[in-house]
Symmetry: C2
Subunit: 468 residues, 2 copies
Amino acid sequence: MRTDPFCWASVSELGAALGSGDLSCVEVVDGFMARISALNLSAVAFIDVYEVEARARAAWLDQHGSVHPLHGIPYALKDLIDIKGQRTSAGSAVFADHIAEKDAEVVTRLDRAGGVCLGKANLHEFAYGATGENKLFGTAVNAYDSSRLAGGSSSGSAAAVAWGLVPFALGTDTGGSVRSPAALSGLVGLKPTYGRLPMDGVVPYSWSLDHLGILTRSVSDCAAVFGVLTDSNNSGESSGGGHTLSAWASRISSTALRGKTIGVPREFFFDNVDQEILAATESVIDFLKREGVSVKEVATPDLRFARTVSLTIQMPEALSFHMPWLEKRPEAYGEDFRTGLALGQQLLAEHYVRAKRFMTIYRQEVDRAFETVDALITPSTPIVAPKIGTIDVSTNGVTEPVGNAMMRFTNFFNTTGHPAISVPSGIHSSGLPMGVQLVGRAFGEWELFAFAQAINVEPAFKLPRPAV
Amino acid sequence: MRTDPFCWASVSELGAALGSGDLSCVEVVDGFMARISALNLSAVAFIDVYEVEARARAAWLDQHGSVHPLHGIPYALKDLIDIKGQRTSAGSAVFADHIAEKDAEVVTRLDRAGGVCLGKANLHEFAYGATGENKLFGTAVNAYDSSRLAGGSSSGSAAAVAWGLVPFALGTDTGGSVRSPAALSGLVGLKPTYGRLPMDGVVPYSWSLDHLGILTRSVSDCAAVFGVLTDSNNSGESSGGGHTLSAWASRISSTALRGKTIGVPREFFFDNVDQEILAATESVIDFLKREGVSVKEVATPDLRFARTVSLTIQMPEALSFHMPWLEKRPEAYGEDFRTGLALGQQLLAEHYVRAKRFMTIYRQEVDRAFETVDALITPSTPIVAPKIGTIDVSTNGVTEPVGNAMMRFTNFFNTTGHPAISVPSGIHSSGLPMGVQLVGRAFGEWELFAFAQAINVEPAFKLPRPAV
């Protein structure tokens, strides 16, 4: 396939080739578009593909220089994120004809940085659900096994990157919807600190817990995109302002780990986990130890109510946003989501207020852990990617709904707001990817990248490229 | 009475006399204590008086120099504010034996600044109510007419200052509980921007709306206390750090008004107001115009739901805090408050979430008004201080519960979080004080003081001293 030379290139490699003129923006867009045409029917990654717009944008960029950090780099957006004049379907019949009136703030930033949006990625309806199963648009497929889920709710964002259809994608993460599909699809997935990336122009699910996130194939790509998105100099002036991609990637200090401490909350986060995922997590911990990191067992906060706390916040907030449409077109909602919203209608204000107070306590407890450690480590998920259509899963004899399992270890850190990243920890005997979750101090993304990068460049944890 | 020479002195005058050694801290404390002994039975201002502690503190201060900005200045605290080792009754039988474990942050700051707490001031039970009527501790009495309310819920804080028992007091304001008693008692009452003064160590009523506030007899006193409380240099080092009182008072720019614009939201805020209060407010507006201020009529936000929004936030938050005590000792709560909490139990999470969204909209609307004006002006209250025991009041044929009337114009600005100050606007034919409310930009307290100060020093709006 014509795209082979660069479809698996890193963001930085692509940036270098585009910057030097070895590749034109149009060539890159055409190459990825050819691959999307060939593979999207299998991947079910994209809902809408912007063939005409992306090519026009690439041609314009080819004429207007290459000083911007993301000059000509293609990307995909979870279809909750607005682009002016395009529809934002939110993966739902309810919004299928909804045209956005302006760009989301994050789209403005990517535009200023020279990026090229190739299209909108598939998702679980309104981001309510971890599997990514979508009756209207189909279900995004795992790049390592086409009978399995890509993960969700940012299912299409994960599939688009894992299938080599874009080098990076944005998703949203309210309970793990970036980190969980990243782990199951063999990617790096970052949920930055709550509020670190702007949610303006993104269809909300639960604004107290919603985080915009980044999916890439490597930690250095993730850091580069994060750097560009958070750069206050990314001002869109023709001077190009802002740092280059390689400057962002090299901001990760590779020698900074020695003397740092990683915390291991064994209770809850290491219970009822697939044995190979557990072993891979222990291997990562051992590796960090060899790199000079101190390993410290830390107490797990009391998580008995954590899932309830999360749902008690999610459902009334979702209900409050959806009420106008729910009243007019209840039949347009999928059954899952309608049931969830009905649950939201039963909750008392007192419950919600109490859940918000729990969030404060949880945040304070995790902040306190960071007084003695520099990061926390857990498996990202207790299971590998389940078969499409799975209802319940069992681990160590404990059975739970598949969606609960997929979010079991990620969910809590949406209530605390700390940055968390999923990084591959190796390949399972089933041939499926496994991941570890690293959690950092509030607004400590760059320190977190240092841990993640060390793991990500270690050969023992490298994944084979999917055969797609 | 021995206290006559200084019991009505301003904070700055007292500070000057204490700084120069004309008065000792012990003399000042003894003087005010004598006045409290003589008058508190009539004023019902204090719940607890710290005669021994205040004298010991004053003696210590006399020995240890006078470099701190509030050196030896007495004050009172609404009895929701913790002092380590003292009880915080919250005006309730429920907390009557509750001993605080540490100082509220604001107490720490006043201590560092050299202030001397004379005691804890009376209040409406748990700050739930505008009248200050309190069956357990009695009802604080208006200094201008002992058959009338001082206002509430910071009733004792207002009475303590108005009766000349302290030069300043702190209160809390969730719907107007500092500004309304200030207006009714002839004082200056500031509710700073939401979050500007720390609520740590203050018994909450509704944390989304609670504001700590300041009650004084003049704007320059208010500015001086606000300056000390917000001074990042007020660090408690023996060097004394921080600005002097007179430096804070002189930070108010007296000439800055020319060219500024004041907004007049006539709809709602000028409806159904006592004719003399309305005329006084117009006189203030005319005066500002003569001082070079442009007057601009501004649209009033749609306030149909504002009271409901406020209650929908207050009651579940109050309920959430009180639940542990409410379950154990329901009979210890006054009937009013128990009824309010029962109402809170009926509210759905969806209602609360919607009310929070209204808060955001209200804040944005008021922020927008400040794009074309520098302050807003309204009457502080539509009525003068009611008789103790009043249930309903009628203005222009419209009858409402007395508490609603007292908070009618202040309530909204707790939902928006903007700073607001009540300043005397003259004396009513009944002999009772009247006030205007000025509202400023978020974190624009010093700009607000400039407007307030101009009105406060104008002879036309001066109040006679109460005959107490």
